[in-house]
Each structure stands twice: as structure tokens, then as C-alpha cells.
């Protein structure tokens, strides 16, 4: 039998205003097991906690019921208090008489009656509580970063610098991500490559970092501290260790008509290629979809020219399984498809381009070597229209775009407009905007410079329709402030397309059992207080996989994620959640039902020898739960027909005792 102490909190007038706390304390005194009951103004205050500690000692209490605010608020607080008082922290139950009683009921007698019932339920539960001790599991001191963009790079570098080994898995042949494709960066206008490529080199040279480029994560098993991850290294038909990246094969490859994805298809590359000059790892990759040798078995030029003998047409996909203590998701973003936006004529005219394509057009390493030329005829455009919010801020029912604001478009459009005017002062530049959003250090100043110093025409209003007419693009738009409709004969139109999470994120989330929102952005464990952690323990979020971000924000989040990982890897052992399922082996019949519903694969079966009531021994198949993997949902407990499976902290008996107490 427990010796239970009941502590009723006034929460100032928050509870005491609607609940007669004295009456609650008095009524709960009569409950079985209760030996002490009192009320206090602020139970969570130091004085309140001291009261609990001293009462435990004075009355020799074995269990505590705190009638107070929601357990989501202070359960942890009072568990610590219990620990200070020498009790097991799981001998505490909270009756939520604030959020679920005093705040939703106005009438004092009704509120008091309900508070008593909720208190009784908590007492009934504590009577059946048992001390719980969290299990311990070891931490594998190695981190995995999925995605090798600026987010992944920064996270990996930070973790590696702290002395922990890190692996980066990047699906492209090189790390660098979207940032590698950018020209300049706002608001300082430094060149993206100038600040990114040194970091890429750092990664390549870091003794603690391994890069799995051209690779994907195909399976994740395990749990925080012990993830077993299968990485598929796609065959690139080039021996990475030998390839020097000299580029002879690229030059000699006869198949040169492959759209170059690095330049968004605005020029071509060869079938064996190195995405760009500063690629890391700088090794060639054969595109099997276009390689004549791989398709027909006839060619082999690259193999012949390779002095290092690095070409291997027989290379197969390779699967590597590695154990990690932590996983950082940095899968990044993509611009959305423009297929559904007929009004912008993206698919009709080559001269309607996305902002990312514009980046490549102005990039010195881009298809035009940095000269701003129209993709259709290579002429210099004299009138350029930028359209903001293309696909962003769409109503969900519109089904074309995204409901959210993509956050970065206002700034990069200002950047584009400014750079264009700077380089080509003879060009007229129009920016159509709905709102210009510039919250950020030096952001608004940057935008104002575009308007004031560079004479960019910012027009409040949206482009309704773009019609290619001869060499021109007729842009029809409204100028809401002047109250007129504009028809501009532009030479080039740049669409600030919305960004969306990378397509691979959804399947990755399933593997990681990490949750996502309806837009496929990874959900953070808490939107404000735990923004870089996923609700799945041991999985962290870095960069735009969590939501739209610019580079400075991405880098700071990447650093934050790294510091969380470092904090985790610095531990030798992890304490688990003790509220996990466990199987009563004497009752378990090994039917496998529980295994089928466990989302974590926490249940396995083993054959064990048992002594039976008839004094014989028998080998029986029984379920066993890995407490480090189990997250305590309790799904198995309901599936188990014999009731052999129960959930610590929320046992069948405890919940039924609560039901009984509420219904009596």
C-alpha cells in the first residue's frame, strides 16, 4: 500500500478562483492510500517544492499526487522534486485541475467537484505506480548528415571540429547543393562560390569527415545513439580513389548532348562529367542513361584516355551499413515546377526563366560565362520583368502552388534587379511584388538601394498574363497604386518561384519515423524551443528541409543542429524513457501480433525455456521488447489478446483504476 501525499496548488487565483482548493485537499484525504493532503499557493515555486520535500520526509510518503496545472507544464518539475525528496520520480501523478478544470469551468461547486474527481483518479493511479528506472543505451560516437548542401556542410564541419567522425551522404556527384549554383549572395553581394568552395574543400580535407557522394540512404533501423543506416552508393563507373579529376575523359567523351543539370539544362555536358570545376569530390561520374558504352557496349573512349585507369564499366551499386549515434537531415529544397502556371508561359518561351536559372545566367561559370543573354537568341535583354511570389502564398485549394511564403524571393529578386542594373545600366528592370518582405539585418537597406540607387521599378501588383509575341514577351500586369493596367514588352521574364522540400524527404521521413507537415517540411520537436530537433529522438534538422531559409539562417541552424549532435555524442550512455512496453513472458504466446503493429521494430521473439505448472520444462516462443527502441505508444498492448504486453507508467490496471475513479 502506498503512502500518498496530495498537494493541491492554488496557482494564485488561476485554480483557486474556480476550485475550492481547501475542499479538494480535504476530500482527497479520504481516498485509499492518502495519508497527507494539503494546499499551497504556488506548488511549483521553490517554497512549494520545499513543502513537498519536507512532507515526504515528515509523513514518510511513497507517492505524490499534485493537483495543479497540466503535466505538460510541470510534470518534469515535480518529478525532480520527488527525486530531491528521495522518491522515484515516477511515483508522481498530476491531476490537471487548471487547464482541464478551473480554466474551462466557471462555477465553483462544479469546478471543485470535478477537481476532486480528477484528484481521485490520480490517487487511484499512484496507488498502482511502481518505481521506474530508465534503461541505458550506449551512444555510437559517429554522426550522419544527409544532404551535402551548405546546411549539411556546416553541420558536418562543426561536428567534425568537435572531434566526432561524420559521414555526409549526398545524392548528387558533388556536395555543394543549391548554394554552389548561386552567383552572388544578398545582402553583401559576395560571390557564393568564393565563400562556399573553401568550406567544401575543408570538408574534403577534414580527417573526421567522410563523403558518400552520389549515394542515398535506403534504410534506417535502430534508435537514438544506435541508428543502423544502409547507404546505397550508386555506381558512378569511376573508381573514386584513383580518379584524379583531370577531366581528360570529359573532354574526350563523344556523347556531349546531355542536358547539364547543374546549369538547369541551359547548356549541355558530356555523358561522363564533373558537375563543376570546384566539385568535391572532384571525380568524374558516368551518367548511365546517356553513356554509349554502358548502353550499347561500344565506345570506351573514356577508359582509353584515362591515365589513372579509373574507369570501371562493371561497377555495381554498393550498399554500406554503418552505425550512427545521431542523424542530421539536411535535404534542402527545390524550386517548384512551373508546369501548372500556364499564365506565365514558362513552357512556351525560353525567355521566361526561373530565378535559379537567372543565377546561372549571371554566373561567370554559367552557360553564358556570366553574360546576361536571352536563352532563346543569345541577345542582350533590355527590358527585364521580375515576378515575385510565383507559386508562393497560394491558397491550398488553388492546388498550383504552396500556401507558405518562400521567404527568400524578395531578397534575391532585389539582388538580381540590382546586379542587372549595375552591370547593364541600359536595361530597364521591373519588379512586380505583392509585398516586399525584408526582415533581416541590412535587408531593407539593400532593397531600398535597389529602388533608390539602381532605379529598379518596383510595382505593387501581380502579373496576370505573359504572352510571347515575336521576340517579345507581353507582360500584362496591374499597378495597384496607380490604378492602371500595364502592358510591358519585356525581353526576359524572371519568375521568383516558390521553393519546396526536396522530393526525397518524404521517403526519408518514413525511414526515420520523423514527422512532416502537410508541405513535407520536417516538423521540429517544438516550434520555438526545439527548432533543430525532430520529434524522433536522435534526428536533427538543418536548413531548408525544416522550412524556407536564407543562407545566414541556414548556417546558423546548421551550427545549432551540430551543437545538439555534439551534446548527444559527448555522452557515453543515454537514459531512455522508462515508460516502455514489456511483455509478461509467462503469459505471452508468441503469436507475433505485437510485432506487426510496432512502428519501431522494438519487438523481437526468442525461444526461452520455461518451467510449466505441471513441473515440466517447455521451450516457448515469447516476445521481448527492446526498451531503448520502444517509444511507449502502447499499440502492442491492445493488439496482444492475452494482455501479456503492458506499458509501464500507463498499465492496464492503472488506466482502469483511473476509469473507475472517474466513474464512481
Amino acid at each position: 500500500m502506498q503512502r500518498i501525499g496530495v498537494f493541491v496548488c492554488w496557482c494564485g487565483s488561476n485554480i483557486a478562483g474556480t476550485v475550492d482548493v481547501v475542499a479538494v485537499a480535504e476530500a482527497l484525504k479520504k481516498e485509499p492510500g492518502v495519508v497527507f493532503s494539503t494546499d499551497y499557493q504556488y506548488m511549483c515555486s521553490q517554497a512549494g517544492q520545499d513543502l513537498i520535500v519536507s512532507s515526504v520526509k515528515e509523513h514518510n510518503l511513497t507517492g505524490l499526487v499534485i493537483c495543479s496545472c497540466s503535466p505538460r507544464m510541470h510534470e518534469a518539475t515535480f518529478r525532480k522534486t520527488a527525486q530531491v525528496a528521495g522518491l522515484n520520480p515516477y511515483m508522481v501523478e498530476i491531476a490537471n485541475i487548471r487547464e482541464q478544470c478551473s480554466w474551462v469551468h466557471k462555477d465553483m461547486p462544479i469546478g471543485t467537484e470535478k477537481a476532486i474527481i480528477l484528484g481521485k483518479a490520480a490517487v487511484a493511479k499512484v496507488n498502482l505506480n511502481a518505481p521506474l528506472t530508465p534503461g541505458e543505451s550506449p551512444v555510437t560516437k559517429r554522426a550522419l548528415v544527409i544532404g551535402g548542401g551548405i546546411a549539411g556542410i556546416q553541420t558536418a564541419l562543426d561536428i567534425a571540429d568537435a572531434g566526432f567522425p561524420v559521414d555526409i551522404v549526398e545524392k548528387k556527384p558533388t556536395i555543394g547543393g543549391k548554394m554552389a549554383q548561386l552567383d552572388k549572395t544578398f545582402p553583401t553581394l559576395d560571390c557564393a562560390a568564393c565563400i562556399l568552395t573553401p568550406k567544401m574543400v575543408d570538408v574534403a580535407q577534414h580527417e573526421n569527415i567522410r563523403i558518400f557522394s552520389y549515394s542515398e540512404v535506403t534504410d534506417v533501423k535502430g534508435f537514438i545513439g544506435n541508428f543502423d543506416v544502409t547507404i546505397k552508393k550508386n555506381a558512378r563507373f569511376v573508381n573514386e580513389d584513383i580518379c584524379t579529376g583531370c577531366g581528360d575523359c570529359v573532354t574526350k567523351c563523344p556523347q556531349k548532348k546531355v542536358p547539364n543539370e547543374f546549369n538547369l539544362g541551359m547548356d549541355n555536358r558530356s555523358a561522363i562529367y564533373i558537375p563543376f570545376a570546384q566539385a568535391v569530390p572532384k571525380v568524374a561520374t558516368i551518367d548511365p542513361a546517356h553513356c554509349t558504352m554502358l548502353k550499347t557496349g561500344k565506345c570506351g573512349v573514356c577508359s582509353k584516355v584515362c591515365k589513372a585507369n579509373a574507369i570501371d564499366y562493371t561497377q555495381k551499386d554498393e550498399f554500406i551499413t554503418e552505425r550512427y549515434g545521431a542523424i542530421v537531415v539536411a535535404t534542402g529544397f527545390d524550386p517548384i515546377s512551373m508546369d501548372k502556371f500556364d499564365e506565365f508561359a514558362y513552357n512556351q518561351s525560353k525567355d521566361v526563366i526561373t530565378s535559379l536559372e537567372f543565377e546561372r545566367l549571371t554566373n561567370a561559370a554559367g552557360p553564358t560565362a556570366g553574360k546576361l543573354l536571352r536563352p532563346s537568341d543569345g541577345e542582350h535583354p533590355h527590358k527585364i520583368v521580375f515576378v515575385q511570389c510565383v507559386g508562393s502564398r497560394c491558397d491550398s485549394c488553388a492546388e498550383k502552388g504552396k500556401e507558405y511564403c518562400s521567404k527568400i524571393c524578395c531578397m534575391y529578386t532585389a539582388k538580381h534587379a540590382m546586379l542587372t542594373r549595375d552591370k547593364y545600366p541600359d536595361t530597364e528592370v521591373y519588379v512586380f511584388y505583392i509585398d516586399v518582405r525584408t526582415p533581416g539585418k541590412n535587408f531593407d537597406e539593400f532593397y531600398r538601394r535597389a529602388v533608390e540607387e539602381y532605379d529598379v521599378h518596383y510595382i505593387k501588383g501581380m502579373v496576370g498574363k505573359i504572352t510571347p509575341e515575336g521576340k517579345k514577351l507581353m507582360v500584362r500586369a496591374s499597378d495597384l497604386l496607380d490604378g492602371k493596367q500595364l502592358n510591358i514588352d519585356a525581353d526576359l521574364v524572371v519568375l521568383a518561384t516558390a521553393i519546396e522540400p526536396d522530393k526525397s524527404a518524404r521517403s526519408l521521413a518514413t525511414m526515420l519515423t520523423a514527422s512532416m507537415d502537410t508541405n513535407d517540411f520536417f516538423t521540429e520537436a517544438h516550434p520555438k524551443l526545439r527548432p533543430v530537433e525532430s520529434p524522433t529522438a536522435g534526428v536533427f534538422l538543418s536548413g531548408t528541409c525544416q522550412g524556407p531559409k536564407d543562407i545566414p539562417e541556414t548556417v546558423s541552424q546548421a551550427g545549432a543542429a551540430a551543437s545538439k549532435v555534439i551534446g548527444l555524442l559527448a555522452k557515453d550512455k543515454l537514459k531512455g524513457n522508462p515508460c516502455v512496453a514489456s511483455s509478461d513472458e509467462l503469459m505471452c504466446n508468441g503469436c507475433s501480433s505485437c510485432e506487426k503493429v510496432c512502428p519501431y521494430g522494438a519487438i523481437t521473439y526468442e525461444n526461452k525455456e520455461f518451467r510449466m505448472p505441471d513441473r515440466t520444462t517447455r521451450v516457448r516462443r515469447v516476445a521481448s521488447v527492446n526498451p531503448a527502441v520502444c517509444q511507449g505508444c502502447g499499440c502492442c498492448t491492445v493488439t496482444c489478446p492475452s494482455g501479456a504486453m503492458d506499458l509501464r507508467g500507463f498499465m492496464n490496471e492503472q488506466i482502469m483504476a483511473e476509469v473507475d475513479a472517474i466513474c464512481k
Binding site: S515, V597, P599, G634, N652, C663
Partner: protein, 144 residues
């Protein structure tokens, strides 16, 4: 003896991650709902055993409602999908036995849906109150 106004007794099982937080939010926003609703916290809606529901009716509950995360949002990824099937089957069995289907309900309430929680509870209490006392699944021994 004074005739007591009939007050239905409602047991609400709420999952810790969404619906219990939704109920807390209803409290934070001071959204009223009848005190007849008593909440039991469970880690996930999938923790709710049909036996708990029968137990509640046995002990005098007039209605039982189960609240969990919206499908797809389960903290444990799939718990509420199992809940959805189990409860669909259980409720339809209760209906088959002639027990009023209006006494049971499953509702998905997210942590952000304080207003939905309060509205759901108001609606459910009205619905159950309209049926009157639970006579078909009562255990007379447990009557006061």
C-alpha cells in the same frame, strides 16, 4: 427527494501529444465545455484498449470519446491508424448489439485545436445527454 438534473458522465481518452495538449489549449484560451467531461491521459490513442471503454460504461459512464492526433500526425507515426480500425470495429460491434452508437466517438484533435476540442466536447455532451442514461451497457452493481 429532489430530482437531480441529469448530467451525463463522459470519459475522454486523450493522447498525450495532440489531444491532451489540445485540451490544455482549450484551457489556456478559456474555452468552456461541460465539467461532465473527464479526461484520461494516454500516450497515444492506440493505447486505448476496448476493455477500457467497456469498463467506463460498466462503471457508469454515459459516453466515451477517444481523441488522438490527426491521421498522419501521430507522434508514433502509425498509432492512430490502428486506433481508427480498432474503434471502427468495436463501435460497429456495439451498434450490432443494439447499443447506441451516439455514446461513442473518435475525434482527431491536434495540439493547436483548442477550439475544436471544446466544440467537440460541447457537442458530444449534448449528443449523449439527449440519449439519457446508459442503460444498455450498465452494470447495476456499480450504481450508486
Amino acid at each position: 427527494m429532489q430530482v437531480k438534473e441529469y448530467k451525463p458522465l463522459i470519459v475522454a481518452f486523450c493522447c498525450n501529444w495532440c489531444s491532451y495538449a489540445g485540451a490544455d489549449l482549450a484551457g489556456n484560451n478559456r474555452l468552456n465545455y461541460p465539467a461532465d467531461v473527464k479526461i484520461i491521459r494516454v500516450p497515444c490513442s492506440c493505447r486505448v484498449n476496448p476493455m477500457f471503454i467497456l469498463r467506463a460504461f460498466q462503471r457508469g459512464a454515459d459516453g466515451v470519446i477517444l481523441c488522438g492526433c490527426h491521421p498522419g500526425d501521430c507522434h508514433y507515426t502509425s498509432g492512430n491508424y490502428f486506433t481508427r480500425r480498432r474503434m471502427a470495429m468495436l463501435f460497429s460491434m456495439l451498434d450490432f448489439l443494439g447499443i447506441e452508437r451516439e455514446r461513442t466517438r473518435v475525434e482527431w484533435v491536434s495540439a493547436a485545436e483548442g477550439a475544436k476540442f471544446a466544440a467537440t466536447m460541447n457537442d458530444f455532451v449534448t449528443q449523449v445527454a439527449a440519449l439519457g442514461e446508459n442503460k444498455r451497457l450498465e452494470d447495476l452493481r456499480c450504481k450508486k
